[in-house]
Subunit: 320 residues, 2 copies
DNA sequence: ACCGCGGCATAACCCCTGCTTATCGACAGG
DNA sequence: CCTGTCGATAAGCAGGGGTTATGCCGCGGT
């Protein structure tokens, strides 16, 4: 028997139905069904009456519910009080480039409120170039940085052999969205040669995405045909949707807009980038607070990616 | 956080050392070390001071210990009271052939005392033929039966397609122990032709082992040269050890005696048997008590086999 | 002073458990 | 009678908690 089973039972009795309780608990109905059956089997007592309109606790179930409820509460109190023993406090500055901020910012604040209420977060969301700059000037304690796997200088980091303070987070591909004036030979792929002929809207030159794009084109002795420099990914998408130009955006952004009926093409050769979480070596923020937030970022990234709430990215394992 | 971690912490503080606590908890020291580190990480508090002579709780650890101790106790009380709600009681008769009884009898009594204190066990340990007979006459509620995988009638059971009430437990091989008068061509294998020339001691004709042996020999148009009919496996081994004759015994028995320097040979073709757990369809014992003991037998068999305390057997999966 | 040893941490691996999706059976209501 | 809702079952996958093997450190014995 496990405290989790007690939580589940409490939820079931409260909800009056396995299905609804499963929803509340954010797990599937069969999982809950199994767990409840297991609990009853372990105890050797029937706790629930399964009716066609839901479940109701039996006599034994009601008694058990009371105790379980109380125990779960005490359990949580213990955890809370232990955590309160040595509160993590401080002001942690985090730099997030737009693509990451879209998916990470809100969950990160939520996570912080829940897990480290004593920590105040200061979020700098802007184009990756500025984010890097802020970090290099010691203005942020943590920052996500994009790295081109082809860039030799960044190779070490992407390979996981970089210096401490840089942990791999995820990879993602850069995709072309919108319909080009001429159809591409492969409807799912656009070569860089073809790309050179397509009018695109791109972020400013301080963005790592822009730089990576330009570098890739230069490598093929082509140039990018930029018809508009814009600041935000959403603006890029809006323009692409209007048909005025195509846009090259990270896969996670493209995944959101694919549902809108926008055509999406991979590039050939594929352009990818690696997201790295940097931790400042010297910082004014309390060490433990920074560490906590860092682990929050990696944990959240994993959770979001796995649960499908951050589509288009591929996790890179690098526990640190 | 989990109640198990709380139990572990309590044990650690009580023992004053991870190693010793691990021993008490019957887990390995690294496992405990990991769990404690995880607990501290989750709580964000250091609970233990690691010294070279063991560990001592920190200030926070001491407080935490008290609460954890209390919670664990309440937790167990809840489980106990819920189980007491609907106590399993009754008299369950179990038939075990000698080979199985050697390894299973004592653990089974221990398990029953712990998990179903209201159940009284009646154990019939004897040669497999009698065990079968007792079961067929309704004198036992559960019984282990040996099945020859080559016997067509038993084929269905061994294949897992038998009727309900018969669950696969394990397979084991029959081995020749002791040194035959003439060395065999293959020192690790004895053909049935060679076996016919070897004086062996065998259990009585009511034993399934004996019957299986005779059947196998007859199939090759040979006869077994039995120089002594004995009742117990241990007597057979004693005679084999004295050098008077060889003995054919199940692998689990042979494994015990291999350490005594007795030569062990597989037969060629290999003789194997399958152990099946039978459950009486109609019985006077309470249904739930029988079910509990049945699950105890399967669980124990698995545990013993996996932990190496029942060597020589190969588990068959057949959850039921 | 050295070496040995008790004790905790780390690494690499494995299996079991608990979750998932997919599907079914059963009962109530239109 | 059909349909929608709820719970149970099946089969597959992932992660956590366990294992063994090994490393590192500080103490004590001779």
């Amino acid at each position: 028997m496990d405290v989790l089973q007690l939580r589940y039972l409490v939820a079931v009795v409260d909800a009056g139905s396995l299905s609804r309780a499963a929803e509340v608990l954010r797990i599937s109905q069969p999982a809950l069904s199994q767990r409840m059956n297991q609990l009853e089997r372990e105890l050797g007592v029937q706790l629930l009456d399964r009716g066609p309109r839901g479940v109701r606790p039996t006599r034994a179930g009601t008694d058990f519910y009371r105790d379980a409820h109380r125990l779960v509460r005490q359990f949580d109190e213990l955890a809370a009080s232990a955590a309160a023993e040595h509160p993590v406090r401080g002001l942690v500055a985090v730099g997030l480039p737009s693509g990451a901020a879209v998916h990470l910012a809100a969950p990160l604040f939520g996570w912080a409120r829940e897990h480290v209420p004593g920590v105040r977060l200061e979020l700098f969301e802007s184009m990756s170039g500025y984010v890097d700059e802020l970090f290099d000037h010691g203005r942020t304690d943590l920052a996500i940085r994009y790295v081109d796997p082809l860039d030799p200088a960044a190779r070490a980091v992407a390979a996981g052999t970089g210096r401490a303070g840089e942990a791999l987070l995820y990879d993602e591909e850069l995709l072309l969205v919108g319909d080009p004036p001429e159809p591409t030979r492969d409807p799912d792929r656009v070569t860089l040669a073809e790309l050179a002929a397509i009018p695109v809207v791109a972020p400013g030159t301080r963005s790592s995405l822009r730089q990576q794009l330009e570098r890739a084109m230069r490598r093929e002795e082509r140039t990018l045909r930029v018809v508009a420099d814009v600041e935000s990914l959403s603006t890029m998408l809006r323009i692409a949707r209007s048909g005025g130009a195509c846009a090259v955006v990270p896969a996670s952004t493209a995944a959101d807009s694919a549902a809108d009926g926008l055509a999406v093409r991979r590039t050939d050769p594929a352009l990818r980038r690696t997201a790295v979480l940097r931790t400042a070596a010297t910082t004014s923020a309390p060490h433990d607070a920074v560490a906590a937030v860092r682990s929050g970022v990696t944990t959240l990234t994993r959770e979001l990616a796995r649960s499908g709430r951050w589509p288009g990215i591929e996790l890179r394992e690098d526990p640190s």
